[in-house]
C-alpha cells in the first residue's frame, strides 16, 4: 500500500509516540521498584514531566504536518473518474455491428444484444451476464430521468426541462434480454404558465446497448419517442434524445440525471 510521504511521516510519528508511551510505563515500573527516596521521586517526576512536554511538542508538530497535508488538493472522487472513463470508451470506436454490443469485460468482443442477460454466458469472460450489466436499476418503476431539453427541430420551444418516467416494467421469463416498459415523457411548453405536455409511451430496455427506447402507444397519434443511452458509466446518467418515432429524426436532446 502506497502512502503519500506526508502520511508516512504521520505513521512513523505515531509509532514513535507509542514507543515513548511504553518507555514511560517502563520508567514508572522502575520507579515503583526504587521508591522512597524523595529526591529520586522528584527527579523521576521531572523526567516524566519532560517526557510529557516532549510528547506535547511532537503532537504539535504532527498537527502542523496534518494541516499541511490537508491543504493539498483532495483525491478525485470516483464518480468523476467513472464518467471520464466512460466518455473515453464512448470515443474509442468499437467494431460491433448495429445489432451487436461490446462485451463489458476487458477483452474486446461483440455479441448480439439479444444474448445479453438471457442466463447463458455468451461473452468468453461471461461479462454479458454480469450483475452490473444486468442490473435492473435503470428500469425501476418510478425512475425519473430529467434534464434541460434543447430543441433543434420539431418544436419552437426555448430550452426547458424534460422528464422521462418509468411507469411499468415487465420482463418475460422466456425472453429475458429485454425489459418491456411503459413510461411518460413530459416537457414544459410554456415558461410563464408552466404548461406541461405529457405523452404516454411504451418500449423496452436493451441490456447490451444500455438503452431505453420508448415510442407512442398503439392507436395513438404518433407524437414523439425517446431514446436514452446510459453510456456514462452508471445507472443514473443518460444521454437522451426526443425523436420522431418513424424516422428517429432527433428533435431535442437532453443530458438526463436520475431525479
Amino acid at each position: 500500500i502506497w502512502l503519500p510521504p506526508a502520511a508516512v511521516q504521520q505513521v512513523s510519528l505515531k509509532a514513535t509516540i507509542i514507543v515513548i508511551m511504553w518507555c514511560i510505563l517502563l520508567l514508572a515500573g522502575l520507579a515503583a521498584a526504587a521508591a522512597s527516596d524523595p529526591y529520586k521521586e522528584k527527579r523521576f517526576e521531572y523526567i516524566v514531566k519532560n517526557q510529557k512536554l516532549h510528547l506535547g511538542y511532537l503532537e504539535k508538530k504532527l498537527h502542523a504536518i496534518e494541516e499541511e497535508f490537508n491543504e493539498l488538493s483532495a483525491d478525485v472522487d470516483r464518480k468523476t473518474i467513472r464518467h471520464l472513463k466512460a466518455r473515453i470508451s464512448n470515443l474509442e470506436e468499437n467494431h460491433c455491428t448495429d445489432d451487436q454490443s461490446e462485451c463489458p469485460g476487458d477483452v474486446p468482443e461483440c455479441v448480439d444484444d439479444l444474448l445479453f442477460c438471457d442466463g447463458e454466458k455468451d461473452c468468453r469472460d461471461g461479462s454479458d451476464e454480469d450483475d452490473d450489466t444486468c442490473s435492473l436499476n435503470i428500469t425501476h418503476v418510478g425512475s425519473s430521468y430529467t434534464g434541460l431539453a434543447t430543441w433543434t427541430s420539431c418544436e419552437d420551444l426555448p430550452p426547458d426541462h424534460a422528464v422521462v418516467t418509468i411507469t411499468a416494467a415487465h420482463r418475460r421469463d422466456y425472453f429475458p434480454s429485454r425489459v418491456w416498459l411503459r413510461g411518460t415523457l413530459s416537457y414544459e411548453i410554456d415558461e410563464k404558465d408552466h404548461v406541461i405536455h405529457t405523452i404516454q409511451l411504451r418500449g423496452y430496455y436493451n441490456f447490451g446497448k444500455r438503452e431505453i427506447a420508448l415510442g407512442p402507444l398503439p392507436g395513438q397519434k404518433p407524437g414523439y419517442g425517446v431514446i436514452c443511452d446510459f453510456n456514462l458509466g452508471d445507472d443514473d446518467h443518460a444521454d437522451c434524445k426526443i425523436v420522431v418515432p418513424s424516422s428517429l429524426f432527433v428533435c431535442a436532446h437532453f443530458n438526463a440525471a436520475r431525479y
Binding site: 430543441w151 427541430s153 420539431c154 418544436e155 419552437d156 426555448p158
Partner: protein
C-alpha cells in the same frame, strides 16, 4: 399531379386551421438557412438596397396608389440616396424578422412594433401587403438557388399578416 395539388392544398388548409404547423421549427430553419446565402460577402448593403428597390418599385407599378405613399422617401428618384436608405430600412426589417423566427416572443414584439409603424401611415392597406408578399415570393427564387416555396410561404404569410394586422382596410 392532381394528388400533389391536393397535398399542397391540404397543407395550406392545415396552415390556416391551426397556427401550430404554420412556419414550424423546421420551416424557419430552412428559411433562415436559405436567406443567409444572400449575405455571404461584405457588400450586403448593395444587395439589400437593390433588392429592396426592385420590390418596392414593382409594388408601385402593380398598385399605382402606393407611389404616393412613398413620396416622403422620394420614390420618384429610385436611384437616389433617400429611397436607397428606405429600401435598406425595409430589407433590414425583413432580415430582422427572419432572424427572430426562432424566438417567438421577441418576434411577436418586433412585428407588433412594425405593425404600429405602418398603422400611423395614412393610406397603407392590407391589400398592399398581400401584393408585396406575392412579389417577394416571386422575387426570392430568382436570387436564391435553394428556395423552399412551402417553407417560405408559410413563414412570410405569418410575418406580413402580423405587420398588416393594425390596418383598417
Amino acid at each position: 399531379m392532381l394528388r400533389q395539388l391536393l397535398v399542397i392544398v391540404g397543407l395550406a388548409v392545415c396552415c390556416l386551421a391551426s397556427d401550430e404547423h404554420c412556419c414550424s421549427e423546421e420551416d424557419h430553419r430552412i428559411v433562415q438557412h436559405q436567406w443567409d446565402v444572400l449575405w455571404r460577402d461584405t457588400e450586403s448593403s448593395k444587395i439589400k438596397i437593390g433588392f429592396g428597390r426592385l420590390l418596392l418599385t414593382k409594388l408601385a407599378k402593380e398598385i399605382p396608389e402606393v407611389a404616393d405613399l412613398f413620396k416622403r422617401v422620394d420614390i420618384e428618384h429610385p436611384e437616389g440616396p433617400k429611397f436607397a436608405a428606405h429600401s435598406l430600412r425595409i430589407l433590414n426589417a425583413l432580415d430582422m424578422t427572419i432572424n427572430l423566427l426562432d424566438d417567438p416572443p421577441a418576434l411577436a414584439a418586433a412585428l407588433d412594433h412594425l405593425a404600429h409603424q405602418h398603422e400611423v401611415r395614412e393610406g397603407v392597406k392590407k391589400a398592399h401587403f398581400k401584393k408585396f408578399g406575392e412579389i417577394l415570393a416571386g422575387g426570392l427564387p430568382r436570387v436564391l438557388d435553394d428556395y423552399d416555396a412551402l417553407a417560405w410561404k408559410s413563414c412570410l404569410k405569418g410575418i406580413l399578416t402580423k405587420i398588416a394586422s393594425k390596418l383598417n382596410a
